[in-house]
């Protein structure tokens, strides 16, 4: 579904991603893990077209997208739940969800998708007229995930969905991700929460200072010596 072939990404003169290749197959949950500053968010932004790779290619369902303009990708079925939620804070929850379904099929199905999102997050339904900026952190994360789902994506990318949430909410978010996958959406997830994301993922990649250092199934990485000492602290 998504194939990244040897990309380099830089901010000005500082190169942040070096020769990164990875693949996400249809129906999978794939995790990308790494320390702070490893380049995980940069990778997701590059896939979403918000940053440009200096070198390499990105294919989405076989179509090259590394030169496509960012606003066109959502229509192809690629959706990003950005880091730190990035809701439209002065709009209501409802309006935020509408912003996730501006065009095409997503717009036609808006009401139905919204009901499904409210099914996943009943709390959002209660607060649908509330201004997004006044939601609690957990509610904002739900709204951000909901907004991501509104576009009926084929591939949904999450950048640290568990950031700043209480453990019980983190578990809830991971349950939701499982449900999203069961409904047929492929998931690429970036996380600091290594243990839970490896447990939830079919496969995972480990990124260190912009380079891929390891890959494997979630289970294999969970029992890997290096991963255990570097990321799980055991």
């Amino acid at each position: 579904m998504l194939e990244i072939r040897g990309i380099d990404v830089s901010y000005g003169d500082t190169q942040v991603i070096r020769d990164l290749s990875l693949e996400v197959r249809k129906g999978e949950v794939v995790a990308l893990i790494g320390a702070n500053g490893a380049g995980k968010s940069t990778t997701l932004k590059t896939i979403s077209g918000l940053l440009r790779a200096r070198k390499g290619e990105i294919l989405f369902e076989g179509t090259p997208v590394h030169k496509a303009e960012a606003y066109k990708l959502i229509g192809m079925g690629l959706s990003l739940c950005p880091e730190a939620r990035r809701l439209f804070v002065e709009m209501t929850v409802d309006e935020n969800l509408d912003m996730g379904s501006l065009k095409g099929e997503a717009k036609r199905q808006r009401q139905r998708t919204k009901e499904a999102v409210f099914g996943l997050f009943p709390r959002l339904k209660e607060r649908r007229r509330q201004i997004a900026g006044t939601l609690s952190g957990g509610e904002q994360q739900m709204a951000a995930i909901g907004r991501g789902l509104m576009s009926l994506p084929k591939l949904l990318m999450f950048d640290e969905p568990s950031l700043g949430l209480a453990p019980i909410l983190v578990r809830e978010i991971f349950d939701i991700i499982k449900k999203i996958r069961e409904d047929g959406t492929t998931v690429l997830i970036v996380e600091q929460n290594v243990k839970q994301s490896l447990a939830a993922a079919d496969r995972a990649y480990v990124l260190e200072t912009g380079r891929l250092v390891m890959q494997g199934t979630g289970e294999a990485l969970l029992s890997n010596e290096h991963v255990r000492t570097a990321y799980l602290g055991v």
């Binding site: 606003y71 959706s79 990035r86 439209f88 709009m91």
Partner: protein, 307 residues
């Protein structure tokens, strides 16, 4: 409510206001146009321009040059400034809209200044620092000038309101709040920012073309002025209320009257900038959303004073 206000405004010249009072009213209405235009780009779309004098000046010079070079009535400048400023905004936008936040603000500030220096130096075309003078004014009376600018203002008000309440308005606000997120939602942010800039520029340019006709004289330091146009425009919207429909109108009333009042105090000279600065600081601290945006808060503050 808006119709009542419009009816009152339309009847205003019948009340026998003095010529000087009419002059102030005309200035207020003209500045409302510029403020509303700025508000569309700066308030709704979040692209804070420090260079709206560029559009005002290009509009004014369109009218002026039509008169000096083509010997037609400068009133043609009001409609014809629209395509001219649209083209100008499009090219300027192509350059400045790549930048964000403070970088955008600085680039727009520079663009206003570049236009001023350009107008000073294209002597054959613009008359340079000598400016353009219209020999015979259309009317001695103010009434028709007033109705013309009132028409422009009404169109501007309705257009901005319709846009803000349309799909485009949502796109503008999304861009203001988070440009990257807006882009990820499928909004062609470059397109919509350019659109906001062009519409804002054209409305400002129409006000500039009116200014040429009304004042009968322009020069680069007047219509491309950083302080007297670009900065005043921002102040009008900040004082009145950013991203509110009536904010720019209220701001224009206050700024025009304040400027006149201060000018009437002997010995102050150009010290009105000092007062404007102080006013802006007060507004930012106590009414960050402007008089219209923070009206409930203002009412509370005033009640507290009485109690």
């Amino acid at each position: 409510m808006p119709f009542v206000i419009l009816a009152i405004l339309a009847a205003l010249p019948l009340t026998g206001l003095s010529s000087y009072a009419m002059h102030l009213v005309i200035l207020v209405v003209m500045w409302s146009v510029v403020g509303m235009a700025w508000n569309l780009l700066g308030g709704y779309c979040g692209q804070v321009s420090f260079g709206h004098a560029a559009y005002f000046g290009v509009g004014a010079y369109t009218a002026g040059i039509l008169y000096t070079k083509m010997a037609i009535s400068p009133w043609w400048g009001v409609p014809l400034s629209i395509p001219v400023v649209a083209l100008f905004s499009f090219f300027l936008g192509y350059i400045v809209l790549r930048l964000r936040g403070p970088f955008f603000a600085l680039a727009t500030l520079a663009s206003g200044e570049v236009m001023r220096v350009t107008a000073e130096n294209l002597v054959d075309f613009t008359g340079g620092t000598l400016g353009i003078m219209i020999q015979e004014r259309t009317w001695v009376e103010k009434t028709w000038y007033y109705y013309i600018i009132l028409l422009v203002a009404t169109v501007t008000f309705v257009l901005v309101k319709k846009l803000a309440e349309s799909k485009l308005g949502y796109y503008f606000v999304a861009i203001r709040e988070d440009q990257d997120a807006a882009e990820s939602m499928g909004i062609n942010t470059t397109l919509y920012k350019t659109l906001a800039l062009c519409i804002s520029g054209c409305l400002t340019g129409a006000a500039g073309a009116f200014y040429m006709n009304y004042m009968g004289y322009i020069d680069p330091n007047v219509v491309f002025a950083l302080h007297d146009i670009s900065i005043i425009t921002i102040m009008i919207v900040m004082v009145g209320g950013v991203a509110t429909y009536w904010g720019p109108v209220v701001g224009a009333v206050i700024m025009v009257l304040l400027a006149e009042w201060i000018r009437s105090i002997p010995g102050l000279g150009t010290a009105h900038y000092t007062f404007f600065g102080i006013l802006l600081i007060i507004i930012i601290i106590f009414l960050p959303n402007g008089i219209v945006g923070d009206f409930p808060k203002l009412k509370r503050l005033l009640k507290l004073q009485k109690a």
